[in-house]
Symmetry: C2
Subunit: 210 residues, 2 copies
């Protein structure tokens, strides 16, 4: 499976399921995934708990599906953008230019990922939850591999400096995910804020590697 076709085996998501995931991401972000309950999500959605349980058998599954969708969002946007004929630097810039607006567009999902970062597996008890968290790891790994390949190509062709690939990869990924930690949408945000932020982080990431 290539990056561009990751997810091609997935069924399209129903509007109802997507709405529940949006609400869950919002509620988990605000209350913390540990504290928030299915009741809180239902209340936010103005729906019954039954509607949520129809799609998600437990809070653990709902949380896992939020994390999985977070990975899917960026993967589906960035994966197809890699151009085998472009330079590593051009590819990296293009990937970052798509990655950053996408994480800001789907910010609550990525905030939940951070919350769940440590000990994601400690609390998942059912087989279905474990299976979902395994899928999240695979999908994240696939997404990271798109970046790993570009960094590797850049080190090999000399456009990036000789360095430990894993450290470089983790550092670049954290750099381009940095806004998840601090970004808060503001009413009076300058219209070009996201574009400027994206440019600056692309510059920083490319410079950091050179």
């Amino acid at each position: 499976m290539t990056a561009a076709t990751a997810g091609a085996d997935k069924k399209p998501m129903s509007k109802s399921k997507a709405e529940i995931l949006d609400a869950a991401a919002e509620v988990f972000m605000k209350l913390g995934a540990d504290t928030a309950s299915i009741d809180d999500v239902a209340r936010h959605l103005g729906a019954t708990k039954g509607r949520i349980y129809h799609h998600f058998p437990s809070k653990g599954v709902l949380l896992a599906e939020v994390c999985l969708r977070a990975a899917d969002f960026v993967h589906e946007v960035v994966g197809p953008a890699v151009d085998a004929s472009a330079t590593p630097e051009a590819n990296l810039r293009r990937m970052i230019a798509l990655h950053i607006p996408e994480i800001l567009r789907t910010l609550p999902y990525h905030k939940v990922i951070i919350q769940s970062y440590v000990g994601m597996n400690q609390k998942s008890t059912t087989a279905l939850e474990r299976e979902l968290f395994d899928r999240i790891r695979v999908e994240r790994r696939q997404y990271e591999d798109i970046f790993r390949n570009i960094l590797k190509a850049g080190i090999e062709d000399g456009s990036f400096r000789e360095q430990n690939l894993s450290i470089a990869l983790q550092s670049v990924l954290l750099l381009i995910n940095a806004p998840v930690f601090w970004y808060k949408p503001r009413k009076n945000e300058p219209t070009n804020f996201v574009a400027d932020l994206t440019d600056q982080l692309a510059d920083m990431a490319v410079s950091a590697l050179r």
Copy 2:
């Protein structure tokens, strides 16, 4: 209060209190701060709950003190290293060269910080807990300001490129804290691993700013 004297107003910590904080950091890291109990910390320490409650009136206070100490560790090592006569780049390299080994030395504390990153305040209910979390915010801000001043000086003297200072600051801080997310001490770790990691991240951070 300058960076170098931050904490000068604090009483030295008793060995008993420091031992409890070390144990708490370890247990919170492993079990998750939400899941772990005072009982778990006592068991890890081979001590009674009473000994812990003698120093820390609640789990919330214990968690806050772990987070506060995490901030103190790096602040006390990095703060005094700033040399007003050195260039911004030389200062930044020196700060990073101290910061990274220190976060690896005190890794469990910093892993707990990540866990507690989102919604740190949502669960703190007592006045003492709120006061502690306010102090954490102040101390973290003071630590960030050391870096902010160096970045600002570098942009002003042209050694770093003209860019949004806040974005640059958050990005560099995340870059040099990246190992907290992925580093796991290994038995067969090459002896120069930490030194190489530190060099690479210092190179990346400085290059990212130029």
